[in-house]
Amino acid sequence: MSELKSLYQEIILDHNKNPRNFKKLENANRHAEGYNPLCGDHYNIYLRVEDDIIQEVAFEGAGCAISKASASVMSSLLKGKTKEEAEELGKLFHKLVMGESDPIEELDRIGKLAVFSGVSEFPARVKCASLAWHTLRAALENKEHVVSTEK
């Protein structure tokens, strides 16, 4: 039960219910589509990048609470970051949900991403949490094909 509470933290439930930046970005210059064929989670991520700096982030789509909250929290963290900084954050997030890093030690660097540390106790849900970040990487690289969690 305590593990379950750490998975479905209030912040995650809130981002699921009221996702931030949940829209299509009309003036986006980077876009990617992410899909998890196992559970049907499906998101589009839009970025406006200028001079290597992420100016705006938005996303739309549907999926489970973990995937949606992850996309929402991610979108709220990226504004003003360079491509490298965003990718670095993605790596930290991956380590966190894989249980390969200590959220307390990393707190300075990961900030509110720490709410996803509970995911590491649920191996079946790691892909839900990672989908948005995988899609972000594709968007930053401006890949046009659909990013799948199963390849």
Partner: protein
């Protein structure tokens, strides 16, 4: 008083159906998951194994392990006896006419692929058609798509209605002279729909079209009589009928099997081999190249004996009662919507819960020890038909109880609370 008597489920066999005695045959049902008693409701994915099946596997490896058919020594004869006796048991279990019509395969998927390659691919030409339904499992879609890609044939899909039932008039209309093969699911794994396959086979036969039935969800839930159905092929998996994984059965009418070319070449499927010419073995060995899953096949015989002992009609009656109870209980959950409302249904219930994604339901109720399936259940076209990405699915077996249905309901209420 009278009403109470009428709710009693009539038992057709002499032995009374005792779910608690059945449960005691399945040691895994006593285990705990996340500190809670396991409530296993993922039987459409795979069933649990009774002690007699585990014992059969253990006995084979501890006492009889040997290769079959070619050995003259004692153990080889014992192993062969176990393997071939199982074939006889399964022949009786599905009421096939001859034991040689029972081909051991890895499972339903391999059985369908065998028929696709050794039968349909050889008989079909560009522009001709293979007909399936809109509720097939991916394993009864993809092999036909591969045949179509290789031959230029066309895959046609008979539509289903909003209840998840086949639209029979449409199906019948689609049986044109172009159709050379029909492949149908008996019971839908995601909707629970029991298709009127006997009638559908008759309709296809009226046009001389052979029919395969995918029986993966049938064998542990309702009586199967392949002669009565008059199907040309029938496939099922052992692990969905309390047997081991990696073993299943392809039933085919001898008249077809005899004229089919082998699926794989190798040992055991030949009569004689020279570099110039090989003479294939007789049925069923022609289709069983290489050393088969001897332990699995033998234990599958034990599983069919076990089902026979309990009585498939008893199992059917019990599960129908459980289905009615579970349906009513789930429908009383506020915000719950069921997918699949066929008139003739097996004990499979797919559902959605308001804004709570099936994946989240699955994780939360797992913390209460309740195991269900969430996702598309390898039936993505069914999900597309109903415009949903996924469902939560509770699928029952003869060892499930009403108490377990209640535990499911309580755990769903908990999921609702978290997402309130």
């Amino acid at each position: 008083m009278k009403a109470a008597v009428e709710t009693l489920t009539p038992l057709r066999s002499k032995d009374p159906f005792d779910v608690w005695s059945i449960r005691s045959d399945f040691p895994i049902l006593n285990r705990k998951v996340n500190g809670k008693p396991l409530v296993y409701l993922d039987n459409a994915a795979t069933t649990q194994k009774p002690m007699c099946v585990v014992d059969s596997l253990r006995r084979y490896y501890l006492e009889d392990n040997s290769n079959i058919h070619r050995g003259v020594h004692y153990l080889s004869q014992k192993a062969t006896e176990g393997y071939e006796n199982s074939r006889k048991n399964l022949c009786g279990f599905i009421n096939a006419q001859q034991t040689q019509e029972i081909i051991f395969v890895r499972g339903t998927t391999e059985g369908i692929n065998l028929v696709a390659n050794s039968f349909v691919k050889k008989r079909i030409n560009a522009g001709e058609e293979i007909l399936i339904t809109g509720m097939e499992h991916h394993s009864n879609i993809v092999p036909w798509q591969i045949v179509c890609q290789e031959t230029g044939a066309i895959l046609r899909v008979a539509p289903i209605n909003d209840k998840g039932e086949i639209i029979l008039e449409e199906y019948e209309k689609m049986l044109s002279p172009k159709v050379k093969f029909v492949s149908l699911v008996h019971i839908s794994n995601s909707l629970g729909t029991v298709n009127p396959v006997k009638q559908m086979i008759e309709m296809a036969h009226a046009h001389d079209i052979p029919v395969l039935i995918d029986g993966a969800q049938t064998v542990s839930h309702m009586k199967l009589d392949v002669q009565d159905l008059n199907c040309d092929f029938y496939v099922f998996s052992g692990h969905k009928m309390f047997g081991p994984t990696g073993i299943g059965v392809l039933y085919g009418k001898s008249e077809y099997l005899e004229n089919m070319s082998p699926y794989q070449g190798g040992g055991d499927m030949i009569k004689s081999v020279t570099f110039e010419k090989t003479i294939y073995n007789d049925l069923p060995y022609k289709f069983e190249a290489g050393t088969p899953n001897i332990a699995g096949a033998t234990a599958l015989g034990a599983a069919s004996d076990y089902i026979n002992k309990i009585g498939i009609d008893n199992i059917y009656a019990y599960e129908q009662d459980l289905l009615a109870y579970a349906t009513q209980a789930l429908l009383s959950v506020d915000g719950l919507r069921m997918i699949g409302a066929a008139k003739n249904k097996s004990a499979v219930i797919s559902f959605m819960l308001e804004d709570v994604h099936p994946h989240d339901i699955g994780t939360i109720i797992d913390s209460e020890g309740v195991a269900i399936r969430t996702g598309h259940h390898c039936t993505q076209p069914v999900m597309q038909r109903f415009g949903i990405p996924a469902t939560a699915r509770a699928s029952f077996a003869m060892y499930n109880t009403k108490d377990e249905v209640d535990a499911l309901i309580r755990s769903i209420e908990k999921a609702k609370k978290i997402f309130r």
